[in-house]
């Protein structure tokens, strides 16, 4: 789903300026200036045909470059989500080896581990990789742009973990009293994980298009 959304998003991004806008159409100097924060140094293969940017014309990227951008972004996001889920589930199941049953506090820790892994891989790597394909953009600004949006699902994930903690406290008082709250917290965190995934990707692509 994430991949499909990113492809749609990339496909929906404007064609390189000057194409499809009628004969003689030219981008404004303001737009061009805002799109070129850095000068590309090592352009990846597949974008060799793209002319070097100038102060008056925006950077044009070939289809292979866009495909590479989307594929690598999606790939990193998939890896980060997978790693986050594996880390969270491994933490959750660790107590089973001791006494054959889950420990809500360990599971709660697993949720935080899950969020941390997702954040560390996705938020740190995705903007880096995007600017590798689009080196005219500054990675810090891309990361800031993505963070504008992706912080909200991350906050929702943390809220889910907090909700889970409340449920775990209720469970301590009596079995069955807090598991619905725990389930709501878990669901919120897991959904947030995927929403973070999508938004991080979309926001990054939006920042470098």
């Amino acid at each position: 789903m994430t991949w499909a959304l990113l492809v749609l998003f990339a496909a929906g991004s404007p064609l390189p300026r000057g194409e499809g806008q009628g004969e003689g159409a030219q981008p404004s100097a303001v737009a061009a200036a805002s799109d070129t924060n850095t000068i590309p140094q090592n352009r990846p293969e597949g974008s060799a045909a793209t002319p070097p940017p100038s102060s008056s014309t925006p950077v044009e990227h070939g289809a292979l470059n866009t495909l590479g951008l989307v594929s690598s972004t999606t790939g990193v996001l998939a890896v980060s989500t997978g790693a986050a889920l594996v880390a969270g589930l491994s933490t959750h199941f660790a107590p089973f080896a001791v006494n054959g049953r889950p420990n809500p506090w360990v599971s709660n820790g697993g949720m935080l581990v899950m969020l941390g892994v997702q954040f560390a891989i996705a938020h740190l790597l995705v903007p880096q990789i995007a600017t590798w394909w689009r080196p005219e953009h500054d990675v810090i600004r891309v990361r800031e742009k993505a963070w504008e949006f992706s912080r909200w699902p991350l906050a929702a994930g943390a809220l889910g973990a907090l909700t889970y903690t409340v449920g775990a406290v209720l469970e301590e008082t009596r079995w069955g009293r807090g598991d619905a709250v725990m389930a709501a917290g878990l669901l919120t965190t897991v959904l947030s994980l995927f929403v973070f995934d999508v938004i991080e990707g979309l926001a990054t692509l939006g920042a470098v298009r």
Binding site: F96, G100, R101, P102, G167, E171, W175, D179, A180
Partner: protein, 426 residues
């Protein structure tokens, strides 16, 4: 200064088995093979004071015989020819002595099966301690180590099987079901348990399909699955196609075998048929036995948790009127009733309810004998209603002592270790 060898320490067989079990991979290649010609070993079932059903699967074409003798006197060996139908052979041994332990085997005079053991039920007026093993949920693709540990390591009077002895999901035709059963019973842990003692078995959903119920499972499928069940879990039945029945073990125990799957009618609020409910109530009220063990494949206990309640439709909780009627009846006639159950993939020991109706009744969820994934609940049952809950694969060993009306329950894991032990006064 200490030095460390860089040579890796070889893993022991036990470590490899445990690692494979933990990974969900059954170590089938390392299992002791069955005797040639008898791929599923041997089994005995539904013993009485005088009779025992013995069973095997035979892959040969020669005349087949059963030999049996008291364990204490091999010279008293008897032998009878047995007919093989669709590859399976079954015979009702007669003229046994109550309470005597017996040995039996099948032979075609060239090849001989595993040697099986059983104990004839104790005399109707006998009152003595008994030891039963109880379990459920033996997914045939898992290691099933607790079955081997208990079958090989304990002297048992009988094995009480609470269903899901085979995961026949996906089977449609009779040959599909038979193949699933024979694949499962050929597993060494199953053979170990079934040759160690006699079995008294009910079924649960996976003998038919996942969450099987007449509400959505066709009668044809139930019929085929039931035929295959009886062909592989021999039973002394009171009426055609009827799984529910009881077996007496003297004045110590009576075992009530319920059919919690095949007679449901959710539209009428019936978890079991009115006939079965009436039979159970009468049986409990009239039984002279100290302990009434009810083989109830899905828990009757109340699990007051939102996640467990979300699945209440599949158990007694989803049929509150019948459940209340039965529990109130047992409360009134309470005298040694012990609920034995499975299905949940958690071993549980505790009371049927925290308070109110059933609060003084004890239910043990026995097994799973082989589950590759633990129950996914976020928390497991705990006090004050429950004494124990764990997803560790297990077989429960019950020591019934009628002298003080106590039942010691030991949850035994795949390595033979006792995971939990508790004694209940009933």
């Amino acid at each position: 200064m200490k030095t460390r060898s860089l040579t890796p320490t070889p893993l022991t067989r036990r470590e490899i088995l445990l690692a494979l079990a933990a990974s969900g991979c059954a170590p089938e290649a390392r299992e002791t093979p069955a005797a040639d010609g008898f791929p599923c070993g041997v089994s005995s079932a539904d013993v009485t004071t005088t009779n025992a059903l013995v069973w095997t699967v035979y892959s040969g074409a020669d005349p087949l015989f059963v030999e049996w003798w008291p364990a204490s006197d091999e010279n008293a060996r008897q032998r009878r020819a047995v007919e093989v139908i669709d590859g399976a052979a079954q015979l009702d041994l007669t003229n046994l002595t109550a309470g005597e332990r017996y040995v039996f085997r099948f032979t075609d005079d060239t090849r001989t099966s595993d040697t099986g053991r059983f104990r004839a039920a104790i005399a109707d007026d006998a009152l003595e301690p008994l030891t039963f093993a109880v379990s459920s949920c033996a997914r045939q693709t898992t290691a099933l180590l607790p079955l081997a540990a208990v079958g090989n390591g304990f002297t048992l009077d009988a094995f009480l099987c609470l269903g899901d002895a085979v995961y026949a999901d996906g089977a449609i035709t009779r040959s599909d079901y038979d193949a699933k059963w024979r694949g499962a019973l050929a597993r060494a842990p199953n053979r170990a348990m079934r040759r160690a003692t006699s079995t008294i078995a009910t079924w649960d959903d996976h003998e038919v399909e996942n969450d099987a119920s007449p509400d959505h499972t066709t009668p044809e499928r139930f019929s085929i699955a039931r035929d295959s069940f009886f062909a592989h879990q021999p039973a002394r039945i009171d009426a055609p196609n009827r799984i529910w029945r009881s077996r007496r073990w003297g004045r110590t125990a009576e075992i009530f075998v319920l059919d919690c799957r095949g007679e449901r009618n959710s539209a009428a609020g019936q978890y079991i048929s009115p006939e079965q409910l009436q039979w159970l109530k009468q049986g409990i009220a009239n039984s002279p036995a100290t302990f009434k063990l009810v083989l109830n494949s899905v828990p009757i206990g109340n699990y007051p948790s939102a996640l467990f309640q979300a699945l209440a439709k599949d158990r007694w909780d989803g049929y509150p009127e019948q459940r209340r009627e039965l529990l109130e009846f047992v409360d009134q006639h309470r005298s040694g009733v012990l609920w034995l159950t499975g299905d949940f993939h958690i071993g549980v020991a505790g009371r049927v309810a925290l308070d109110g109706v059933g609060a003084e009744q004890v239910e043990l969820a026995c097994g799973p004998a082989g589950s590759n994934l633990p129950n996914p609940a976020l928390t497991y049952p705990s006090g004050p209603q429950f004494d124990y809950a764990s997803a560790d694969n297990n077989v429960v060993v019950l020591d019934l002592d009628p002298s003080n009306r106590s039942v010691r329950a030991r949850f035994v894991g795949g390595d033979g270790r006792v995971l939990f032990e508790h004694t209940y006064a009933l």
